[in-house]
């Protein structure tokens, strides 16, 4: 139901954008994420961006993991 991955937007043009993963590029619809710009990470599902990744929240999640790792280490 949910297969979608964060992919980097490399360009946007009207209702469409291009995402890149390791050199593989695909054209997607970005109408569901107004304000999307190159450099954003879009969560892409079946050819449509459904969300833009919140980088601040991503860093927070990573920090949580690091804290757990430190706790495990000590």
């Amino acid at each position: 139901m949910c297969l979608a991955i964060p992919l980097r937007l490399i360009d946007v043009e009207g209702e469409h954008g291009t995402v890149d993963a390791g050199g593989i590029r695909r054209r997607i619809v970005i109408s569901l994420v107004p304000g999307a710009k190159p450099g954003d990470y879009a969560i892409v599902h079946a050819g449509f961006a459904i969300s833009l990744m919140d980088e601040e929240q991503a860093l927070l999640s990573i920090r949580t993991i690091h804290e757990l790792l430190d706790k495990a280490g000590s």
Partner: protein, 328 residues
């Protein structure tokens, strides 16, 4: 003529002109030029012999074409069996209407690949079928090589090594087929593996197989099944290239099943595994060669186990059915 027509396969003047004018222009050599019914060869005492047929679609893809494949594929079967490739036969089945320019491109690729691998085409045959009865061109090649090493059965404790990023050919084909509507600067890894031959001569390897249909997982399972062992692969150590990872992400395809056409799975005793990796990386143009697992004692009916990136384990099976992308 700018397209293949039926007269070329007829055995008459048209055919002769075609062979002499087109085929020999690309593939000609002392043995082939004579166009005898058979090539007369002095064969080595211990020889290896193999054959393969090629029906790839599309004929041309980034990084190669059916010409590259038909030489590399047979050459590689010899190499991984411990033999230095010497001679190839070439059987062409051409579809009426195939553009001559396409055929010449393919023949040129064959020549380039054969030269790089040090083999010559010494005998061949051409047939032409009516439009619609072949997909452009089908090719069969058979190859003879000289045994320079003796493969042995892998055994517990041996190390599994891959010569580079698996799956590149599969992604190149997907891009060329344009089925999935993505683009990419990705090239097939289609290539001859003759540069691995010194590994046989040094005695540092036990067993090899080239990674083709079914990908790395299938080859590992076949090895384990034939050897009566269990292969344990470490997902984190497999050196997938960024495009293969990208396609795996975007389409949800398991990259362990994507085919290559110029990568090998090598089994080496643990004592020489380090030397093998060193050789691959510095002398055999395999900078991404990596140790990716071990051969273990047979675990009941399990051919292969994958230790996942996250530390879990799951059983790895050979590819069954098609690879279709996941869609909600």
């Amino acid at each position: 003529m700018d397209r293949i027509d039926l007269s070329i396969g007829s055995g008459g003047k048209s055919m002769h002109e075609f062979i002499a004018g087109v085929v020999l222009r690309h593939l000609g050599n002392a043995r082939l030029d004579g166009l005898g019914d058979a090539a007369l060869l002095d064969l080595p005492r211990h020889a290896a012999f193999t054959t393969d047929s090629f029906v790839v679609k599309p004929l041309f893809f980034p990084g190669g074409d059916i010409g590259t494949l038909c030489v590399a594929g047979t050459v590689n079967d010899l190499v991984v069996s411990g033999a230095r490739p010497l001679f190839l036969s070439l059987g062409l089945i051409l579809e009426e209407g195939l553009p001559m320019a396409d055929l010449e491109r393919i023949l040129a690729s064959m020549r380039r690949t054969a030269d790089a691998a040090g083999v010559t085409v010494v005998t061949g045959d051409t047939k032409v079928v009516r439009k619609g009865e072949a997909d452009g061109i089908y090719v069969n090649t058979a190859g003879i090589g000289e045994a320079v090493g003796r493969p042995e059965t892998p055994r517990p404790g041996d190390i599994l090594i891959v010569t580079g990023s698996p799956g590149d050919h599969g992604v190149a084909i997907m891009v060329a087929r344009r089925e999935f509507e993505f683009e990419g600067d990705v090239r097939s890894d289609c290539a001859a593996l003759t540069r691995l031959l010194p590994l046989w001569e040094s005695g540092d390897v036990r067993w090899m197989r080239d990674i083709t249909r079914g990908g790395l997982a299938t080859v590992a399972c076949e090895m384990a099944s034939q050897a009566g062992c269990t292969a344990v692969l470490r997902e984190a150590d497999v050196p997938f290239s960024p495009p293969v990872r990208g396609v795996a992400e975007i389409l949800g395809i398991e990259p362990l099943y994507l085919p290559s056409e110029g990568k090998a799975l090598i089994v080496a005793p643990s004592a020489s595994a380090g030397r093998v990796l060193e050789f691959l990386r510095t002398k055999a143009a395999c900078p991404d060669a990596a140790a990716i697992g071990t051969v273990e004692t047979r675990d009941r009916e399990v051919d292969a186990i994958l230790r996942t990136q996250s530390g879990g384990h799951r059983i790895l099976e050979p590819l069954t059915g098609e690879l279709l992308p996941r869609i909600c």
